[in-house]
């Protein structure tokens, strides 16, 4: 499998696809996400993807709106919700993302963590082989 192949995963029964970020965007995202994920104690505590998502709610909630939006947009660049017969497919990079996750914000954090794994950001490379691998 090529590293640029789309990564498919499901969160709460819904399907998502992420095309790994490239170039300077990937470096920028890695730079902002790595300290956040490490500050959760992911390595020493061997947290699962769900645990990381829960802790992220608090951590990302403390960021400025501008910073959070930068992380969200970069994270979801190339990430799609794969719609079905009664739900249309959408890109999560735009503002439609908030409508999609309305009332189930924890799913957004779960998808963010899954997208970071797909982008192979530093903490997730280090955790490869542990319980964070696989789908949410």
């Amino acid at each position: 499998m090529s590293v640029k192949d789309p990564v498919k995963y499901t969160v709460d029964g819904r399907s998502y696809t992420t095309i790994p970020l490239t170039g300077r965007d990937s470096i920028r995202l890695d730079k902002v996400v790595t300290p956040i994920v490490f500050s959760l104690g992911t390595v020493s505590k061997k947290l699962t993807q769900g645990d990381i998502a829960l802790l992220l709610c608090e951590k990302l909630g403390n960021l400025s709106e501008e910073k959070f939006e930068e992380i969200r947009r970069l994270t979801f660049r190339g990430t799609m919700f794969d719609g079905s017969d009664n739900e249309k497919s959408i890109s999560l990079e735009g503002d439609e993302c908030y409508n999609h996750f309305e009332g189930r914000l924890i799913d957004m954090y779960n998808v963010m963590v899954a997208a970071w794994e797909a982008h192979k950001l530093t903490p997730f490379r280090m955790l490869a082989g542990s319980s964070t691998e696989g789908t949410a």
Partner: protein
């Protein structure tokens, strides 16, 4: 009092110091320079691909340094 040589040295500024903008994207620009790729070309590489190429360049540099160190030692004997 500074000598003219020290003045010249100070005029050079911080040697080996990268501006924040370049330092943030060091892995990217390091590959652009060393692999002679255009930035737009490298912008299609994933983080994983850039890491692998950087590891290869580092390994080559290590090998070169070790080679030079070995023969420098040899000459002094």
């Amino acid at each position: 009092m500074l000598t003219s040589r020290q003045n010249d040295f100070n005029d050079l500024g911080l040697i080996g110091h990268l501006s924040q903008a370049v330092e943030d994207e060091y892995i990217f620009w390091n590959l652009v320079v060393n692999l002679r790729l255009s930035p737009s070309e490298l912008d299609t590489w994933t983080l994983d691909e850039m890491r692998k190429a950087t590891a290869l360049l580092d390994m080559r540099q290590d090998y070169k340094s070790a080679w030079n160190a070995f023969y420098d030692v040899g000459e002094k004997k």
